[in-house]
Each structure stands twice: as structure tokens, then as C-alpha cells.
């Protein structure tokens, strides 16, 4: 067959491991989402100023966390792909990108829905919001690069270069609230001195965060599998054409 076997020895093991994890991840996701949504929408106290709108937070904040951490994960796995040429690295970054884009979009949408009651407008051009929008564009650009190359291994490297350059944006998002005076809230959970908010809010927030993470993991496994199998299929088809 027309392929380097060593290239696909690893993915085989990878597929085995992920197949084993997958059902658990799916179950955990469902449980955590159920608990998290219950805590967030029913059990948590209403804010004395904001009323029920404060509950947008439980969707918004973890989504923003995911948006950034998925990007960081993509950057790390792209770097791995560039340096050690590990075959699964590029594919896993590729598989994560659309999920990350969705979380970014979710954070943007929930943020602006929240902005309407809080700041009186859907959108302002301050540093946090803008850098988040840039993150969204970076995700789009990343996916566009994958779509634009015929040669997948080239596409992987090109996309990796973009992710790595764009990684500068992540600290900008994180610290924009400290560096510029923005409308947006400064950090209160993930700070140097530990969380600064009450546990009745912190708990559902963290549960939702975990729920999102395992949701990500579930979808991610499906997508990586599809990527690896898709690549195999393509090779088989070409090998078939050759004979």
C-alpha cells in the first residue's frame, strides 16, 4: 500500500484509547450538563440588581474559558506537529478548531445578549470584546486554510504557523481588562489570588465549566476519529485507483 505504515501505527493506538474513553465522556457530559444547568438556572440566587439575567453568566463565562483554552490546546498541538512531526497533532488541532469557534461564537452571542440589559447596547468596541472577535476570526482563518490546500500535510503546517502567530492574542484577551479600562468585568475567578466570588455562584460556574470540557472532549473524539478514518479512506481510494 502506498503509505508509510509507521505514520499510522500511532493513530491506531490513539483510536483504541479514544474509543475506550468515548462512552464515559458522553455519559459524564450528559450528567454534568444536567446538574450544571439545574444549579445555574434554578438553584443559584438571583442577583439583587440584575435579576434573572445574571444567569446568562453560567453559559457565557465557561464558553469564554473554553474558547481560549481550546485555542491554547490547538497552539500546543500545532507546535508538537511542527517540531516532532507527530501525525495526530495536526489532525487534533484541526478537529478542535470548529468546536472552539462554536464556543467563541457562543461567548460572543451570550455576551452581547447580556450587554443589552447591562450596558444598554449589544456591542461596544472595547479591548476585551474586540480581542475576542479577533479570536473568532483567527478560528475562521484557521479553518479556511485547511480548506484551501489540496495537500493535507501542507495545510497542516500552514495552519500551524497561523495558530502559533495568533497565540499572541490569547494573553491579550485575558489581560485586556487589566491593561485598558474596559466596560467588561475584570477577572474574579481565575486570578492570582484565587476566586473572589461567592460559592453559590462559583459552584455552578465550575460545574458548567467541567460540563463544557467534557462536551468538548466528546465531540472532539468523534471529530478526530472522523479525520483519521477520512484520511485512511482517501489513501485506500487512491491506492485502489492506482491498481
Amino acid at each position: 500500500m502506498a503509505v508509510d505504515l509507521h505514520k499510522f501505527a500511532n493513530p491506531a493506538r490513539f483510536l483504541r484509547i479514544t474509543s475506550a474513553i468515548f462512552p464515559w465522556a458522553a455519559i459524564v457530559t450528559v450528567l454534568l450538563l444536567a446538574v450544571g444547568l439545574y444549579l445555574a438556572l434554578f438553584a443559584s440566587p438571583e442577583d439583587y440588581q440584575q435579576g434573572a439575567t445574571v444567569r446568562i453568566m453560567f453559559v457565557h463565562v465557561p464558553a469564554a474559558w473554553m474558547a481560549m483554552s481550546i485555542y491554547v490546546m490547538m497552539a500546543i498541538s500545532s507546535a508538537t506537529g511542527l517540531i516532532w512531526k507527530h501525525p495526530v497533532a495536526d489532525l487534533s488541532a484541526k478537529a478542535a478548531a470548529p468546536i472552539g469557534a462554536c464556543f467563541t461564537f457562543l461567548a460572543l452571542v451570550t455576551g452581547s445578549l447580556w450587554g443589552q440589559p447591562m450596558w444598554g447596547t449589544f456591542w461596544v468596541w472595547d479591548a476585551r470584546l474586540t480581542s475576542m472577535l479577533i479570536l473568532f476570526f483567527l478560528y475562521l482563518g484557521y479553518m479556511a486554510i485547511w480548506g484551501s490546500f489540496d495537500d493535507q500535510s501542507k495545510a497542516g503546517k500552514a495552519a500551524a504557523i497561523l495558530v502559533l502567530i495568533g497565540a499572541i492574542n490569547v494573553p491579550i484577551i485575558k489581560f485586556s481588562v487589566d491593561w485598558w479600562n474596559t466596560l467588561h468585568q475584570p477577572a474574579s475567578v481565575a486570578t492570582m489570588d484565587g476566586p473572589k466570588i461567592h460559592s453559590s455562584i462559583l459552584t455552578p460556574l465550575l460545574v458548567m465549566g467541567l460540563a463544557y470540557t467534557s462536551l468538548f472532549l466528546t465531540i472532539f473524539i468523534i471529530r478526530v476519529k472522523a479525520e483519521i478514518l477520512g484520511r485512511r479512506l482517501r489513501i485506500l481510494r487512491l491506492a485502489h485507483v492506482e491498481d
Binding site: A2, V3, D4, D150, D151, Q152, R231, R234, I235, L238, E242
Partner: protein, 207 residues
């Protein structure tokens, strides 16, 4: 001075083009790479020129892997591909002059003379015919000399007169101890030419 390829394997877009390909070339020799369309001749030449990375295998120059001293190796060859690498708005002379400077040599007027380009040397390359462009491109071999010539279809669109002229240049080059890698479909009737056939067991019928 010698060029050796060991167990080269080429995969393009998940498709095996050739594998276990090896050859060795010494001063004064020519290697004629043969093979049907799509056999991988252009791919092989790009690989030897370092533009395409082999999936596995090694290329050695003077017995040492080229990976050890890529910059040193790059000075040792001249690659002429399908594309002309000529700027249409510059004249033949200006084009050659730039490439000569870029490789640190100074033989432009000799090169123009050898390839009979003097009369058109100062009109822009953009309005030249296919064969005239090809000759200007080939003239780089003289204006920026190097021991190893890597030539991908160097005589396509040359007329018979200029094919002869090119042959003479090639013979002169190897007689002076140079070496050449040549991919072409036309037989040039060169003496002392070695052949490498990509249709053989090393490659595969790729279609």
C-alpha cells in the same frame, strides 16, 4: 566529487510515486532520468535540488549527507525547472545579471554569447517566444556556473539548431569534470550517459 541517492522514497498527496530509488553520479557523468508521464521525474529532480523533502532516504554530496551542510550543497548545483524564473519586464541581460549576482558569479556576457542571445539581450523577456525564453533560462548555467546541473526538460520548445547548441554546452560541461541530471523524453544521443528508468521495479505505474 560525487552525488549519491540512497533509498529515496517519494509520496505526493498520500500517493507513492517511487521508493527505494538510488543512484550515484561521478564527475564527468550524465544521468538521464527516463520514465513515462507521471513517473516522477520532476519530483525526483526537485528532491535532489532540496525543494521537496524525501519521506525517507538520503542524498549525499561528496559522501556526506546534504542535510549536514545544506548551504554548502546549494552552491554546488544549478536547477532549471519547468518554470522560467525570468521577470517579463526585465531584459534577458538584467535577469541573468541578477541571478549571477545572487549566486556570486560574473559571467553574464559570456553566457549571452554562448546561447546566441546577444541580439535580443536587451529587449524585455515578456515579449520573447517560448524558445527564446528557454534559452535565456539555460544561459544561467553559464552565467552562474556550478558543478552539478539539474535539468527538467531543458530542450522542450527549442528548435533543432539550439538543441545541438545545448548539447555542445552539456558535453563541454561534463568534459570539464561537471555532472548533470537530465529529465527529457527526447533522446539526445549523448555519449557516456547513464540511464535511470523510473518505470522499472523501483517506481510503479502511477496512473
Amino acid at each position: 566529487m560525487s552525488l549519491t541517492a540512497i533509498n529515496l522514497r517519494c509520496i505526493r498527496q498520500d500517493r507513492l510515486i517511487f521508493t527505494d530509488l538510488g543512484f550515484s553520479l561521478k564527475a564527468g557523468e550524465i544521468l538521464w532520468v527516463q520514465g513515462r508521464n507521471g513517473a516522477g521525474k520532476s519530483s525526483l529532480l526537485r528532491m535532489i535540488a532540496g525543494l521537496l523533502k524525501p519521506v525517507s532516504g538520503e542524498i549525499q554530496w561528496k559522501g556526506a549527507s546534504v542535510k549536514e551542510d545544506p548551504d554548502g550543497y546549494q552552491d554546488q548545483f544549478r536547477y532549471i525547472g519547468h518554470q522560467e524564473a525570468l521577470k517579463p519586464v526585465l531584459s534577458a541581460r538584467e535577469n541573468l545579471q541578477f541571478w549571477a549576482d545572487f549566486s556570486g558569479s560574473h559571467n553574464v556576457s559570456a553566457a549571452l554569447k554562448e546561447f546566441d542571445l546577444e541580439k535580443i539581450a536587451d529587449s524585455p523577456v515578456g515579449i520573447m517566444s517560448a524558445g527564446q525564453k528557454k534559452r535565456t533560462n539555460l544561459a544561467r548555467l553559464i552565467s552562474s556556473p556550478a558543478p552539478l546541473w539539474i535539468l527538467d526538460e531543458p530542450i522542450s520548445s527549442l528548435d533543432t539548431h539550439y538543441i545541438e547548441l545545448f548539447k555542445k554546452q552539456l558535453e563541454k560541461h561534463v568534459a570539464a569534470g561537471g555532472m548533470a541530471l537530465l529529465a527529457t523524453h527526447q533522446d539526445l544521443n549523448l555519449p557516456s550517459v547513464h540511464k535511470l528508468d523510473l518505470d522499472g521495479p523501483r517506481g510503479r505505474n502511477n496512473e
